[in-house]
């Protein structure tokens, strides 16, 4: 139980961990999907290739799109790409970094499916049974070409009357499975070598730029989450005050109509409670529909510059090297200028 909790906590510590967790989950779902899918080769001349190749390529495409859908960062990336510049300059390097990290994670599940299909062999046998060269197998010497094609089309179906217990069928099937598994293992090896090289050789390239881009892409994601949370807090306080206002105004209406019967020890106006510290702090002086709408439009159209030390209302670029108050040693300007 403790292990489970630790695992959950670990995955929630950073958005990257969450994304890795989701990626692994999708890969596990793919394995389950493949094993529960009932493969059904039609064993007819033209349909075999279509079915085999379709099954090899369509589910990976759907899984890739699922991988993009499930990953929150893809939406954050598109938002960052489409936003108006406003006070904060856009950095294409960050968008590229986010794009590549999203794509890498989305490619995991499709690759799992393709490798499983190739290592299992059924898809390959179904797709290419008609393309086998009959010369390779001595059993076909006595058959006419059309008979050979018919036979080959039925090879994937073990239980069919024409090919049941036929050694020629077994030979062709073994040959194709062997080819399929060889291709599968080669692709696996290639992927692992490419991943290994990419990981090892990455520090040889511009490591500083990479670190900066990773930082800022994480920042963009966290900023969006925090903004959403702050909006939620704000909405809660807004609603709270609105409801209390409503009760207070009903009270004054009743007083105005002279209908209220005075209770002994009537407490003071409820409004005064609302000026308490935390209530006011959360609302941050944004107290009407117009103001909230204006706040949200400004957030979209003109995000604030990335400069906490600047006074509010500074009309400058975000990552500009002109800002003298940036802490020394950050040197953002020279490297981010792409």
């Amino acid at each position: 139980m403790d292990k489970f909790r630790l695992l959950f906590q670990h995955f929630q510590t950073s958005s990257e961990s969450v994304m890795n967790g989701i990626c692994l989950l999708l890969a596990a779902v793919t394995v389950k999907l493949y094993s529960s899918f009932d493969f059904n080769c039609p064993c007819l001349a033209r349909y075999n290739t279509l079915y085999g190749l379709g099954l090899l390529l369509t589910p990976p495409l759907a899984l890739f799109l699922c991988g993009l859908l499930v990953n929150r960062q893809s939406v954050v990336m598109v938002e960052e790409w489409c936003r108006p510049e406003g006070h904060r300059r856009k950095d294409p390097g960050i968008i590229r970094y986010m794009c590549s990290s999203v794509l890498q994670r989305a490619l995991a599940a499709p690759l799992v499916w393709i490798l499983l299909a190739l290592l299992d062999g059924k898809c390959f046998v179904c797709a290419f049974s008609n393309s086998v060269d009959p010369e390779k197998f001595l059993d076909f010497a006595n058959m006419t070409p059309s008979q050979v094609q018919l036979f080959l089309a039925k090879v994937p179906c073990k239980e069919d009357e024409l090919v049941r217990d036929n050694p020629a069928r077994k030979a062709v099937s073994r040959y194709l499975r062997c080819l399929s598994q060889a291709i599968g293992w080669s692709i696996t090896l290639l992927l692992i070598v490419v991943a290994f090289l990419a990981r090892c050789l990455r520090p040889c390239f511009d490591q500083t730029v990479l670190l900066q881009r990773r930082y800022w892409s994480n920042y963009v994601d966290l900023e969006q989450k925090l903004f959403d949370e702050t909006c939620c807090e704000h909405a809660r306080d807004f609603a709270h005050r609105c409801v209390l206002h409503f009760f207070a105004s009903m009270q004054s209406e009743l007083r105005a109509r002279g209908l209220r019967r005075d209770l002994v020890g009537e407490p003071p106006e409820a409004l005064e409670d609302l000026e308490g510290g935390s209530g006011k702090a959360h609302l941050r002086a944004v107290c009407s529909r117009k103001q909230v709408d204006h706040l949200l439009s400004t957030w979209y159209n003109s995000k604030p510059p990335l400069d906490l030390a600047a006074p509010p209302g500074l009309q400058g670029a975000g990552l500009s090297h002109r800002a003298p108050m940036v802490a020394p040693g950050t040197d953002l300007s020279q490297h981010i200028d792409v």
Binding site: F8, Q12, F37, D38, C41, P42, L44, Y47, Y51, G54, T58, A62, L65, C66, L68, L69, S74, V75, V78, E79, W81, C82, R83, P84, E85, K90, C157, D160, E161, C231, A235, R236, F238, A239, H240, C242, V243, L244, H245, F247, A248, M250, Q251, S252, E253, L254, L259, R261, L263, G265, E266, P267, L271, S288, V292, D293, L296, S297, Y300, N301
Partner: protein
């Protein structure tokens, strides 16, 4: 048990996670329902298509409606749709946002059902067994000689291996493989199409109505919270009302007893207790009442909340019987297209 509690806690950590969790559960339930369902093709010419169409279409409809019903926000949407505008204008964009997000989540289980049905193939086999091209797949020479009803009767039995008697015309396995292959191809195409659609909608949206989207999201969340807070405040009020009502009743009873036993031995016994009730907690309870202290006032408050919600503007005390739109009030926002801001 502990595992479930932890999973629930994780899912409830924010509202979106929770809704996504519910979607996932409904999708799994849909797949499980299909595997538990005992498909039973009638194998009769007219009935096959009707049965299969029913199995393919009726459960998804039920699952969609169930998905909407299980979502608490549907009543919120209905309330917001039906309320009179009063001092707070209605925003159609917010209503659209609420409906779209609910419909999207409710569509997941039906899509899973349709996909699983097509990928399994039994339904398709049952529906289209009479449409198999016998000439191409089976004994092409015999087929034209058969009258159509006889052919239909024979082919309708393809899904039922125990009663199929047409092996001389068409091998059952061939027909089954053919139809299942087509069914699975359709199933995967359907899955691809729906994921493509979902992807396009989700990824392309930020390029267009992002500013309007942020507003709609905020105000729909606001409406939900406001409703909950109003209910909580009313509950508090009702509790305080009940307490004060009961206290007053006991006070009145005490007073009556005092009057009738003023010279009796009970007088010395009752007076100390009578002095307790007005002080302990009574001030607090009366405070919670906020001046609304009789049935008529409460009814008027609740009617007013429904008919005429207060404007979304804090910091000003306006009388309810004013001109209504003092200061312009909230204006209905127009649909925003933000493309002209994008410099991509």
């Amino acid at each position: 048990m502990d595992k479930f509690r932890m999973i629930f806690q994780f899912l409830q950590s924010n509202q979106e996670s929770f809704m996504n969790g519910i979607c996932g559960i409904m999708a799994l339930a849909s797949a499980q329902m299909y595997s538990a369902f005992d498909f039973n093709c009638p194998c009769l010419p007219g009935y096959n298509a009707a049965y299969s169409a029913g199995i393919l279409l009726a459960p998804p409809l039920v699952l969609f409606l169930l998905g909407l019903v299980m979502n608490n926000n549907i009543s919120m949407l209905a309330e917001e749709w039906k309320r009179p505008p009063g001092r707070r204008a209605k925003d159609p964009a917010v209503l659209r946002y609420m409906f779209c997000s609910m419909a999207q989540r409710a569509l997941i289980a039906p899509v899973v059902w349709v996909a699983v049905t097509l990928l399994d193939g039994k339904c398709f086999l049952c529906a289209f067994c009479t449409a198999v091209p016998v000439a191409a797949l089976g004994n092409g020479s015999v087929a034209p000689g058969l009258p159509a009803p006889e052919l239909a009767r024979l082919l309708a039995r393809v899904p039922c291996p125990e009663i199929y008697d047409g092996d001389w015309l068409l091998a059952r396995e061939v027909a089954v493989r053919y139809l299942r292959c087509i069914s699975q191809a359709l199933g995967w195409s359907f899955v691809l199409l729906t994921t493509l659609l979902a992807f396009v909608v989700r990824s392309v949206r930020p390029c267009f109505t992002q500013a309007a989207f942020l507003k709609s999201k905020y105000w729909s969340h606001y409406i939900d919270i406001e409703r909950k807070l109003f209910d909580e405040t009313c509950t508090e009020h009702a509790k305080a009302f009940a307490k004060v009502c009961i206290q007053q009743f006991f006070e009145a009873m005490n007073h009556d007893l005092e009057l009738s036993h003023a010279h009796g031995p009970l007088a010395t016994a009752t007076t100390p207790s009578a002095s307790h009730s007005p002080t302990e907690g009574a001030e607090e309870e009366r405070g919670k009442l906020r001046g609304i202290t009789d049935q008529g006032a409460i009814n008027r408050l609740l009617t007013s909340w429904h008919k005429c919600k207060p404007p979304l503007r804090l910091g000003q005390e306006e009388p309810l019987m004013g001109n209504g739109w003092a200061g312009g009030g909230p204006r209905p926002p127009r649909k925003e297209v933000a493309t002209y801001f994008s410099k991509v």
